[in-house]
Symmetry: C2
Subunit: 717 residues, 2 copies
């Protein structure tokens, strides 16, 4: 018997070796993202094949075809057998308007346009798994939901999956320049090969659309908010139209960032004043031209009067004047304007965090109905941690969409592992205290105010690198953004579990440790870069590595010392009445808490208060000791992730394992660099020593100051 | 019987479908280049498995391991069966020093260090296929030769394959900037991810080394000849060393482009004067530092005093002074200097084509023995066609290496199909007439002069795009360069056949039409861009598209009108005694022929002569009629390629077929653009009409002049 088993095992191993040797010698390189569809265990695969061996599609639209293709691809992979389309399938894709589906009287109405229902039903006498919804798009979303269910260990047995998105615009913002450089991109060149568009449709564009549809993303802004007028010329409109054609079946609309001064640069006008009728006419004609090429064009994203971009304030007009002029051109076509509140202008250097509120709050209620104001999650700029932006809850008459940064401009680029689910969730769950229990999520999803427009935008981390996002774990941030844009209440850990199961393997032996690594990873970055509410102490320009000592840049708010204000007495930015009074931009109930360091969350302490180095923390330690503890915790967490990842080696394919292992080595080294450089600098300011047993910085401060990072990516000049 | 066959066929088809559906859903995307190793026909595969079912490696060095891995990978794929390593294999890899191999008394000595012998032998009583040579590197080259033989339809039956490279340095020049932009690169970002180096070794670096070793390339210059001093700093030396570690087992040495002014920029010296002892000492120390990190570092490539680059002439020293100073630093380590003769300086605008000869000819015999002068194939700059560079044959006391451009800066970038094998072959086969029968190839391979150093350099067309080179057919240019650097006499058509068989399929039904397309493709580009010896009529800066009318740029030789000199009387650059007398730089016997338009090859007519529009060509047509005929032939050839490619659709995998089909559509449209714009312009100059039946340009000249190409790749500012 033993011999027999040994023989069988040998045969199995040889069989595996044969497959390995003769299959195309392609490693797992991350290209497949979370849509890997690798075979289930033999028994589960057989069971799946029995129930879902054929796919039935009721209707013949591009979207239904895309959905059916995906289900076929997914079930074929998972069941490890070819799955055909058939007139009588075990899985049926059908819009709710299909007569046989309608006859079932399913609860379709509450699903809205995009919500899906996947359910075991008896259809025309056959037991089938039905994927349905009001629209073809809903069927597509349901198809991906079913595949997610199967990839994460679910079965087809008495299935009921249903979900309706809580947010209408689920949009990726690509900061991609027309020359292929991605601003703040760390995954290679722009995915859009403008040079070969509109002729060549890279198959990768379709895979991009599949990945986005699988997580519910329904819009993509193709070009950088620091926009060139070129993107509005006829050749580039044709290129955008080609992409829109590829994306359309997947329910994804194309948007463009619009340069406000385009009427001057392209139209030869003398002004871009939004109240000038020639300017309005130019935009109307340009918008009409775009809609002739892209009938379902989404609209414009605008960064105006910020960081040198042109805007209505150049003509002493308000942001609302600018937005509404564009909105008027788009309205006949049902397009929208996403107008960014990130105004980081020459004015008001007293407290950069106050600028957006100061400019936008007075405009509440003055925007056209097809304008939505896009507000960053925090009031500075995508730091490892920021308190939620005070505009949330402060403009009840204006739809606000939240803007997160998926790419990790300030969180170590692609080589540092930082799962952003907790950052998204923390912001969305923040209570505004403007109205009882009101959260940022309720502002964003419209529950608080009932606006027609709701939205969430994420600055994409996607490039042309083979694994799309520069690292396997960066893919999780794309994934989490999409899932949380669909439903801001999902929670970071469940989303991480889904992602890990699909990206690696559904077994708890893999998912548990991977999710454990992920869940603390962003806090670790906060700890080794900007503990306890610090912000913007990164190096100038590229934002990589520590430079808290920088104090010589022209504008005050370009300097890290502006943000941390460390001196012999203490550290932190006083935003109470004794300082900038930035806290007054929050609801009174919240401002009241933030006025006192004792009732301010310690994670935001130095954001709101300048406190002595000897300040007593809740732990009983002094602030200085607590800071050291945080830096050490951050470094320690990364070392732990590296060790945990080592133990996962047998469970992860070689290529993806090795890349992450290398990146964790880099991250651990650089976490130490951050800790050591920061401590060396703080000690030079506060004159304090390190507690006994604390490891001193590896070098002196001069050494850290002398470090230069050459050719950092994502920082076009 | 018929029913049985039908059943069997059905079973086979179902089997195929099953494999297709369950195999990873990866299309042929070009990543595998010519190393695809797809299964042979069943019978041939079985035969191969029988004879070569195991691989024996005698010796355990990184290079032998790489060779054995490749043979195993190749035979596994071709035979469609797992192939193991074994102590007694059907294929034996062993250096000639192996006692059992030595006992065979094979003709090893004539092979030199890199030459290989693959032969059916009886080794220790067994019939085996032996791959051997004097060095492990030779065994590696032999391994690839065997795989090429099998991929192109050869069998193991009584095999004898042997070849020795005729050229010692077979080098790719990467014009890759440290920020990832590739100058004149049309295949995406730089393959080198400097940001994650030296930590992360992208598996792609190994595949790059495999591809290069497979065609005999043994050197790679990592950075742009327009070099930044940064590349010589410690961090970048470490990054280069990491790449060198990956490449070393594949016999590929790393070289760096050196910025001549680095002693000032990095060393803080006041001068980079090559005769200043501090400068020489700085380079010596820097070179020693590099060799500590890269013990087999190849040496430096230098572009000096050309297009604004610093060089010895800034200090009134000669190119030899500069080269020899660097050579002295490299000599103790056996490194070399490749010094470019492409001097395109402010001086001597009379005839740009004469500059290199004027500066370098007098230096013949003054260069150190570890310097080789790198001369472009022609005297201008990588045009679709140029006569061979007059320096070839003119510096008998100096080793010259030829520099070709594999990337198609002036030949339509990645979207135009132009197989460069004929360009390489045409130049190499050119007779210098300096000595009886002497060809450029004999200068390059050292046969003419017997220099110790010989070399061929190709400006790489490689980037991070999935298919490496921007198109499938561009891969052929990389392939042909390597094969012809190994043996300049190979011939363009045989090399094209090899490539087509390996890249698509070995059947004549595929190879014949593909090779037929390829062989005329470069001539077609010459015809629609620069017929009959025209040159440099491309648009300014990016060099894409026609601009023969440009006349307003600051320096005379920046303007297309400088090159074509068209006027009412005629067209062409007079390089005879009545003009620049550039022909005097060639051997007297050749100059004599070129002095007369009647004895000048018509393909070079307008390169050497200004002739009347009414000049009578050998065809009996006027020059003007002949030019029109050439433009039409070029356009017609592209249209023919598009049609031929259509007929190949059933034989080529979908993804690669579609991309090439799209690109051919682009090329046909743009060939017409070239023809029409050129004709419109010439007519504005010569006042002539088009012969009856000739299609007039689609637009007027003003329209063509108004065309702008935005964001052309490969043109960093």
């Amino acid at each position: 018997m033993r011999a027999l088993i040994r023989t069988m095992l040998t045969a199995m191993i040889v069989g595996v070796a044969l497959v390995a040797a003769t299959a195309p010698a392609r490693a797992e390189d991350g290209y497949d993202l979370w849509l890997r569809y690798r075979p289930l265990a033999a028994r589960d695969a057989a069971d799946l094949a029995r129930r879902a061996g054929s796919i039935e599609r009721r209707g013949d639209t591009p979207t239904l075809r895309a959905a059916a293709d995906e289900v076929r691809r997914g079930i074929s992979g998972l069941s490890n057998r070819p799955v055909a389309q058939s007139v009588q399938g075990g899985i049926v894709l059908a819009p709710a308007s299909d007569p046989a589906v309608a006859a079932l009287h399913l609860p379709i109405a509450p699903l809205g346009d995009d919500g899906y229902l996947v359910r075991s039903v008896t259809l025309e006498g056959r037991s089938v798994t039905l994927i349905t919804g009001k629209t073809d798009r809903a069927v597509l979303y349901g198809s991906f939901a079913l595949l997610r269910h199967l990839q994460t260990g679910g079965s087809l047995d008495r299935i009921t999956l249903t979900s309706t998105p809580r947010v209408k615009l689920r949009v990726l913002d690509h900061w991609d320049n027309l020359d292929g450089v991605v601003e703040r991109g760390y995954a290679g060149q722009s995915l859009w090969d403008w040079w070969t568009l509109p002729d060549f449709h890279d198959p990768r564009y379709t895979d991009y659309a599949r990945a986005n549809a699988s997580i519910g993303i329904n819009g993509t802004v193709l070009n950088n908010v620091n926009a060139k007028a070129d993107s509005l010329t006829a050749p580039y409109i044709a290129k955008a139209a080609a992409l829109a054609d590829v994306f359309r079946p997947y329910g994804i609309k194309v948007y463009l960032s619009a340069r406000f001064s385009a009427p001057i640069e392209l139209g030869g006008l003398k002004t871009a004043d939004p109240l000038d009728p020639h300017v309005a006419a130019w935009w109307k004609a340009k918008t009409d031209e775009i809609y002739r090429a892209i009938p379902d064009f989404g609209g414009f994203l605008v960064k105006a009067n910020s960081e040198g971009q042109p805007g209505p304030r150049d003509y002493h007009r308000s942001h609302a004047d600018g937005a509404n002029m564009l909105a008027a051109a788009l309205a006949p076509h049902h397009g929208i304007v996403m107008w960014r509140a990130f105004v980081y202008a020459e004015t008001d250097p007293e407290d950069r965090a106050k600028q957006a509120y100061t400019e936008f709050k007075p405009l509440d209620g003055t925007f056209a109905s097809n304008v939505i104001v896009q507000v960053k999650n925090g009031a500075i700029d995508f730091q490892p941690r920021e308190p939620f932006h005070p505009l949330f809850g402060a403009m009840p008459k204006t739809p606000l969409m939240i803007e997160f940064q998926i790419t990790k401009e300030y969180l170590g680029f692609a080589t540092h592992l930082a799962y952003l689910g907790p950052l998204f969730a923390e912001t969305l769950a923040s209570e505004t205290k403007q109205r009882p229990g009101e959260t940022v999520a309720e502002i964003v999803d419209g529950a608080a105010e009932g606006h027609g427009l709701t939205g969430m935008a994420g600055v994409a981390n996607i490039g042309r690198d083979r694994d799309w996002a520069g690292s396997t774990f960066n893919q999780a941030n794309w994934y989490a953004f999409g899932r949380m844009a669909w439903d801001p209440t999902l929670g970071a850990a469940p989303v991480a579990r889904e992602w890990a199961a699909m990206t690696f393997a559904p077994s708890p032996q893999v998912v548990d440790p991977v999710v454990a690594m992920m869940m603390g990873s962003r806090e670790a970055v906060v700890d080794y870069m900007t503990p306890l509410g610090l912000a913007h102490v990164m190096a100038t320009g590229h934002h990589y590595g520590p430079s808290p000592w920088v104090a010589d840049l022209k504008r005050p708010e370009w300097n890290p010392v502006y943000y941390h204000r460390a001196d012999t007495a203490g550290i932190g930015f006083d935003r109470t009445v004794t300082g900038s009074n930035g806290i007054a931009q929050y609801a009174p109930a919240l401002a009241h808490l933030l006025a006192d360091s004792a009732t301010t969350p310690e994670r935001a302490l130095l954001w709101f208060h300048h406190v002595p180095w000897t300040y007593r923390m809740r732990s009983g330690r002094t602030l200085w000791a607590e800071m050291i503890d945080r830096y050490d915790a951050g470094v320690g967490y990364v070392a732990g992730m590296r060790r945990d990842w080592d133990t996962l080696r047998p469970s992860i394919d070689a290529e993806r394992w090795a890349k992450t292992a290398t990146f964790l080595t880099v991250q651990e080294r650089e976490a130490r660099w951050w800790r050591d450089a920061s401590l060396a600098y703080w000690m030079s300011v506060n004159g304090l020593t390190l507690p006994t047993g604390t490891r001193p910085p590896a070098h002196d401060l001069a050494w850290y100051k002398a470090q230069r990072v050459a050719n950092a990516p994502g920082n076009p000049q």
